[in-house]
C-alpha cells in the first residue's frame, strides 16, 4: 500500500464553477511498462522520501519572529 492509498477510495468533491476544476490526479499514475530485465523502478514514495530528506537538509531552522498583527 502506498502512502497515498487512502486517496484512492475517497469521494471527490464537485469540480465547482466552470473553468475552475480541481487539478488532474497526481502525475505518474499511468500503467507501468517496465520489462523483467530492468532494474526496479523508483516508486513515487521513494521520490517523495528523497525530496523530503533534501528539504530538511536545505530548509533553514525556525528562528524567532517579531510578534505581529
Amino acid at each position: 500500500m502506498t502512502w497515498y492509498a487512502g486517496n484512492e477510495a475517497r469521494t471527490e468533491p464537485a469540480a465547482g464553477a466552470a473553468g475552475r476544476g480541481l487539478r488532474p490526479a497526481r502525475a505518474g499514475t499511468e500503467a507501468p511498462t517496465k520489462t523483467p530485465t530492468e532494474a526496479p523502478e523508483k516508486t513515487e514514495t521513494d521520490d517523495l522520501d528523497e525530496e523530503i530528506r533534501r528539504i530538511i537538509r536545505e530548509v533553514p531552522d525556525p528562528t524567532p519572529q517579531p510578534g505581529g498583527e
Binding site: L22, P24, L48, I55, P66, E69
Partner: protein
C-alpha cells in the same frame, strides 16, 4: 459570489541568515524599485507606518511593513478564483523580489502564523458588510461558526514542548494565541476571536467584518472554502438569521477543538449541553443551502464542498489528505515520524515549517501539490495574471489603472522617498509641517488642508488617489471606476514637470 466582496491580509515570517526585519525591508524596496510592481506611498500613515513604509500594487493590492513583517493585503475581490489567485500572486511577487534583492539562499519567506517560539503573526480576513460589526446579533451569530470553522480551515502545527518531550499537534496555529471572545484590539490586552475594528475604507453605507482568528492556508482549496463559507455566513446573519446557539466558553472550545485530531470535536452550550462541532457547522450550512442554493457559481461550489468536507471529517479526516492543510500536514508528519511514536525528532519542526515555505525549492507544500489534487486550486495562468492585473469587477480595477498612469507620469521620480523620513524630520522646524513629522496623513484632505503637495506629491489610499490636488475618489468598493480612472490618468500628463 453575489453581493460579496472580500480581501485578506497576510503577514509573512522570514527565516534564513538575514535578520527577518532587515530581509523584509530589502524585499519591500525591491518590489517597488523602478515601479516594478507598483508605487510606494510617501506619507506617514496610521498604525505607525513611516513614510515610504509600503505602497500599492498595480494589481490593486498593497505590500508594506507591519511590526517587522512583510505584509500583503490583497485587492478587493468578488470571486473565489480572484482571492485565491491574488494570494498566490503575492507569493510570486515576494519570491521575485527576493531574487532581485540578491537574497536567494539567505532569506526564505514563510506563509504561516507562528514561529514555534511563542510568537504569532496575523492573517486577517475582511468581508464587506452593511451591518455594524458592533451589532450583538452579528457577533453572537459568528462566534459558534468561527470556533468550529477550524475543522476545515486550520493550517495545523506542531507544538514543541521541550527537548525529549513529545510534541503535540494542533489543528489551528492561531487558536493557541486567542484569549478573548470579542475585543476592539488585535494584540495588546488579549487577542480575540472576533475583532470589532470598524474600518470600512469605503463610503458610509459599507462596514467591515474583520476576522482575525483564522490561519493563513497553503491549500488553495481550503482558502476558497474558508472565504466562501465565511462570506455566506456573514450574509446569513445580515439577513437576520440566528443559529440559536450560545457557547458557554468560546475560547475554551476553540482551544479544545484545536488540540483534538481524532474527530471527537464538541462545543459546550450555555444550556450545559455538549454538541458535535460538525453539527454546529451543519446548522449554518443547511440555512445557507436553503437561502442561497443555486444562486451563483461560487455559492454552489462552496455549499457542495462545505458539505463534502464535513461529511469526510465525520467519516475519517485522513480522507481529506491533499485538500485540507492540517490533515495533509498531519499525514506527512505521522509518516515521517514512523516508529518515533513520541514525535521527539527535531526534524519534524523543520518539516512543519517547510510546508509553509513559499520558495518552491524548499517547500513541502509544493512537493505535495505535484502529487495531490486540491492543494493548488486555480490554474497557473490565473495566478500569473493576478501578479500584474487587478480583479475586473471591483474598485481595485480603477485603482490599478490610476496607479499605472501615475507611474507613467513619473511619480517615482517626484520624491526621493528613500530619504523622505529624514526630510520630514527636518521639516519639524517649519510649523506648517508639524503634522507630517509627528502625526500621520489620514487621507489626501490632510495634505490639501496643509498645502503640502510640495512635500507629499501624491497620496495613495484604498478609497482615493490624489496627486497635487487632482483626486480620484473611490468610495464604492463594488464599482470599477474605469471611466473615472481613465479621465484621472489623462490629467496626469506632465504633472510632475510643473516644478
Amino acid at each position: 459570489m453575489d453581493d460579496a466582496l472580500f480581501g485578506t491580509e497576510i503577514e509573512y515570517g522570514c527565516v534564513g541568515s538575514v535578520q527577518p526585519v532587515r530581509a523584509a525591508v530589502l524585499v519591500k524596496d525591491a518590489i517597488f524599485r523602478g515601479c516594478r510592481h507598483g508605487l510606494i506611498d510617501p506619507p506617514p500613515r496610521e498604525w505607525g507606518e513611516a513614510p515610504g513604509n509600503g505602497g500599492f500594487l498595480f494589481n490593486g493590492g498593497r505590500m508594506y511593513l507591519d511590526l517587522g513583517h512583510l505584509e500583503h493585503a490583497t485587492a478587493e475581490c468578488r470571486t473565489l478564483t480572484d482571492i485565491v489567485a491574488h494570494e498566490r500572486a503575492g507569493e510570486a511577487i515576494i519570491n521575485e523580489a527576493v531574487r532581485t534583492a540578491g537574497l536567494e539562499s539567505q532569506a526564505y519567506f514563510v506563509k504561516n502564523n507562528t514561529d514555534y517560539f511563542g510568537h504569532t503573526f496575523g492573517y486577517h480576513e475582511n468581508y464587506c458588510i452593511r451591518q455594524s460589526p458592533y451589532d450583538r446579533e452579528l457577533v453572537d451569530g459568528m462566534l459558534p461558526f468561527l470556533v468550529t470553522r477550524q475543522l476545515y480551515t486550520g493550517a495545523g502545527c506542531l507544538l514543541p514542548r521541550g527537548k525529549d518531550t513529545p510534541a503535540a499537534f494542533a489543528l489551528s496555529q492561531r487558536a493557541q494565541f486567542v484569549t478573548l471572545d470579542v475585543s476592539h484590539r488585535v494584540r495588546f490586552g488579549g487577542r480575540p476571536i472576533i475583532n470589532l475594528r470598524d474600518e470600512p475604507l469605503a463610503g458610509r453605507e459599507y462596514r467591515r467584518l474583520h476576522v482575525i482568528v483564522g490561519d493563513v492556508n497553503r491549500s488553495e482549496f481550503t482558502t476558497a472554502l474558508k472565504i466562501g463559507a465565511t462570506a455566506l455566513v456573514a450574509q446569513l446573519l445580515e439577513q437576520g438569521w440566528s443559529p440559536q446557539l450560545a457557547l458557554a466558553d468560546p475560547v475554551r472550545d476553540l482551544r479544545r477543538i484545536a488540540g483534538t485530531t481524532g474527530g471527537k470535536w464538541t462545543v459546550g452550550t450555555e444550556d450545559d449541553e455538549y454538541i458535535p462541532a460538525i453539527e454546529v457547522q451543519r446548522r449554518y450550512l443547511r440555512e445557507a443551502e436553503r437561502r442561497f442554493g443555486g444562486r451563483d457559481a461560487d455559492t454552489v461550489w462552496t455549499l457542495e464542498n462545505w458539505a463534502w468536507a464535513l461529511d469526510e471529517l465525520e467519516r475519517d479526516p485522513a480522507r481529506l489528505d491533499g485538500y485540507l492543510d492540517w490533515v495533509t500536514k498531519h499525514e506527512q508528519l505521522k509518516r515521517y515520524a514512523g516508529s518515533d511514536q513520541a514525535w521527539t525528532d527535531p526534524d519534524l519542526i523543520k518539516l512543519d515549517l517547510s510546508y509553509h515555505q513559499i520558495d518552491p525549492s524548499v517547500s513541502l507544500f509544493d512537493v505535495l501539490a505535484k502529487r495531490l489534487r486540491g492543494l493548488y486550486w486555480v490554474e497557473g495562468d490565473a495566478a500569473y495574471t493576478a501578479e500584474m492585473h487587478a480583479p475586473p469587477d471591483t474598485r481595485a480595477h480603477g485603482r490599478g489603472a490610476a496607479l499605472r498612469a501615475l507611474a507613467d507620469a513619473g511619480a517615482d521620480t517626484a520624491i526621493p522617498w528613500q530619504d523622505l523620513r529624514t526630510n520630514l524630520e527636518n521639516l519639524m522646524w517649519d510649523r506648517r509641517y508639524f503634522f507630517l513629522a509627528y502625526d500621520y496623513v489620514d487621507d489626501w484632505q490632510d495634505v490639501a488642508a496643509n498645502e503640502s503637495w510640495d512635500v507629499i506629491p501624491y497620496v495613495l489610499d484604498w478609497k482615493a488617489i490624489a496627486v497635487r490636488g487632482r483626486v480620484l475618489e473611490m468610495p464604492d468598493p463594488f464599482a470599477t471606476y474605469d471611466e473615472e480612472a481613465q479621465i484621472f490618468g489623462e490629467g496626469l500628463e506632465g504633472i510632475f514637470d510643473e516644478e
